[in-house]
Amino acid sequence: MSVGQLMKHRTLGLTDEQVIGMYEKMVLARKFDERALLLQRSGKINFHVSGIGQETAQVAAAYALKQGHDFFLPYYRDYGFVLSVGMNVKELMLSIFAKAEDPNSGGRQMPGHFGYRKLNIVTGSSPVTTQVPHAVGIALAAKMKKRDFVAFVSFGDGSSNQGDFHEGCNFAGVHKLPVIFFCENNQYAISVPYHRQIGEAKIADRALGYGFPGVRVDGNDVLEVYRVVKEARERAVNGGGPTLIEAMVYRLSPHSTSDDDLAYRTKEEVELHWKQDGIARFRQYLIECGLWNEEEERKLLENVAKEIKEATEYGEKAPYPNPEDTLLHVYADETKEA
């Protein structure tokens, strides 16, 4: 690695502690995800949708934002993201076990459907891309209330073909709203590869049609993702309007635990991308910077394993919601229909 690239994080304004923290979040997200897949296979949970392969982009983006200040509209693979803006593994486990204490939905929604007012994580749904106009609406509120936060919204490559992407981007462009559109292009929408989803075009190029910048970035390059998101945030809070970022990643897991991905892609293709795994690449960077070593790696894995084990036990033991609570919260409590 060239000297110029060594310690690059400092030139971007990231401290050594921060990059180490970023790495720890990526590993935590990866290990949580692996555990969830195990739990599903062992029949302890019904379903899991994995973010493996996208953690670097997610964590890097989160670190470029302002926790507890900006508003976040993540999508269902963003475990690395939500872990970096304040959610903990215990809360994620409560969600995948669909338990009453789950802060995302009280066990009502599928795993990966995040929402936590306390953390400015806006409640999300399954129909893809509906969150894009919501982010624009929150950015509109920032402008109207003259607040300096941004709305950050993520979504997949396939989801960028929904009408709501277009309508949301155009609205934000016309009014120059402080919103960051973050597309995690993992090359597939379930079984449909990019070339049958979008063809020869670049998602990032769509920004031109809305009058704001669009950037394609290697999602496995933590510091590059951090840099472009940070720039986008600065532009947004300074009245420069939205940015569309297309982070190039690869979905290393099947679409979900219900999917057999070898029906539409080869083992070789997947293995090839495992070699480009961003987490290993970032570990290498930290090692070359002298910020990480075998010993620290061992300790980290130990702590992460412990944290996940405790969280799993907690989540598994935690009580389910009461059946009758199904009737609650249709409307605010003062109304009696619920």
């Binding site: 106009p133 919501h134 982010a135 624009v136 605010a332």
Partner: protein
């Protein structure tokens, strides 16, 4: 008490709520500089500025979706759909999102948005400027749906909707905008969502209806009086939640029920009203539960004889009322 039009009731409700709470704002197509294609927001941009009376791009899903986002943040958006017919591109945002935000987040988030939509026909609008789409949204718990018939109810219900912590679809019958005038208090008031009103007391037959057809029923009732037929007229005002008590009371009052709405019959709101009655008080009825509604065709044609054929009017309602009375 001033006498104002149905349209002015909308405008003044919005104006007063915007004066009362700076988080209230209006967004939609042509609502700003033009003041709305029907004039519902005329003068508001001049009073409150471009940001709070916002002309949006031509994109209903964004209008609803952006309003929903702003509402989740804590704003009180009033989104105008230029015609109810053009709400449909926003169906996913309204039904999948607005209706489910509180529920899916286990009460952590909420969505206090108002979606105004001029509906109904009789204005030579043809298939796509005349529809009554309430049945599309009616079956979705989590939404509130309002469809007032008088300036008093319009103003009181729109204020209630704007202050409501949950999403409200506010259907305005465009035929009433100029035609219907009525007394409205000068002081602040609201009409609670979910409460029907008896617009006329009677003893022989009960008509349950909402929107424009309330007026047809009232005119018909006045004429039937002379024939010795006494009609009890219930204006639902709110469609979701339905005022079950008022429906059952109204039905019990005479034991003969006619349900009237402009929307086509099959799968309309009237079906639910009928089902509630036959579920709860079948044996108190002295006649079959009748429905008088628009015909089961996709929407009303613009050609005058066809529009006339489709639309209800005082005479059609009167005939159905007489038939029921004589049953």
């Amino acid at each position: 008490m001033a006498v104002i039009s149905y349209l002015e009731a909308i405008r003044s409700a919005i104006r007063e709520e915007m004066e009362r709470n700076e988080d209230v704002f209006v967004l939609g197509e042509d609502v700003g500089f033009k003041g709305g294609v029907f004039g519902a927001t005329k003068g508001l941009l001049q009073q409150f500025g471009e940001e709070r009376v916002m002309d949006t791009p031509l994109a209903e899903s964004a209008i609803a979706g952006v309003a929903i986002g702003a509402a989740m943040y804590g704003m009180r958006p009033i989104a105008e759909m230029q015609y109810a017919d053009f709400m449909l591109p926003a169906t996913n945002q309204i039904i999948s999102e607005a209706a489910k935000i509180r529920y899916r987040s286990n009460n952590d988030w909420s969505c206090p948005v108002v979606i105004r939509a001029p509906f109904g026909g009789g204005i030579f609008g043809g298939l796509y400027h005349s529809q009554c789409p309430e049945s599309i949204f009616f079956g979705t718990p989590g939404l509130k749906i309002v469809a007032p018939s008088t300036p008093y109810d319009v103003k009181g219900l729109l204020k209630a909707a704007i202050r409501d912590p949950d999403p409200v679809i506010f259907f305005e019958h465009k035929k009433c905008y100029q035609l219907v005038k009525g007394e409205v208090p000068d002081s602040d008031y609201i009409v609670p969502i979910g409460k029907a009103e008896v617009k006329r007391q009677g003893t022989d037959i009960t008509v349950i209806t909402y929107g424009l057809t309330v007026h047809f029923a009232l005119e018909a009732a006045a004429e039937l009086e002379n024939e010795g037929i006494s009609s009890h007229i219930v204006d639902l005002r709110s469609l979701q939640p339905l005022d079950k008590e008022a429906i059952l009371e109204g039905a019990a009052k005479t034991g003969k029920v006619l349900i009237v709405h402009e929307d086509n019959k099959s799968g309309g709101v009237g079906a639910e009203v009928s089902a509630i009655i036959s579920e709860e008080m079948l044996f108190e009825l002295d006649a079959p539960i009748m429905r008088l509604c628009g015909p089961d065709v996709p929407a009303m044609p613009i050609s005058p004889p066809m529009e006339k054929f489709f639309m209800l009017n005082k005479d059609k309602v009167k005939e159905a009322m007489r038939k029921l009375a004589l049953f």
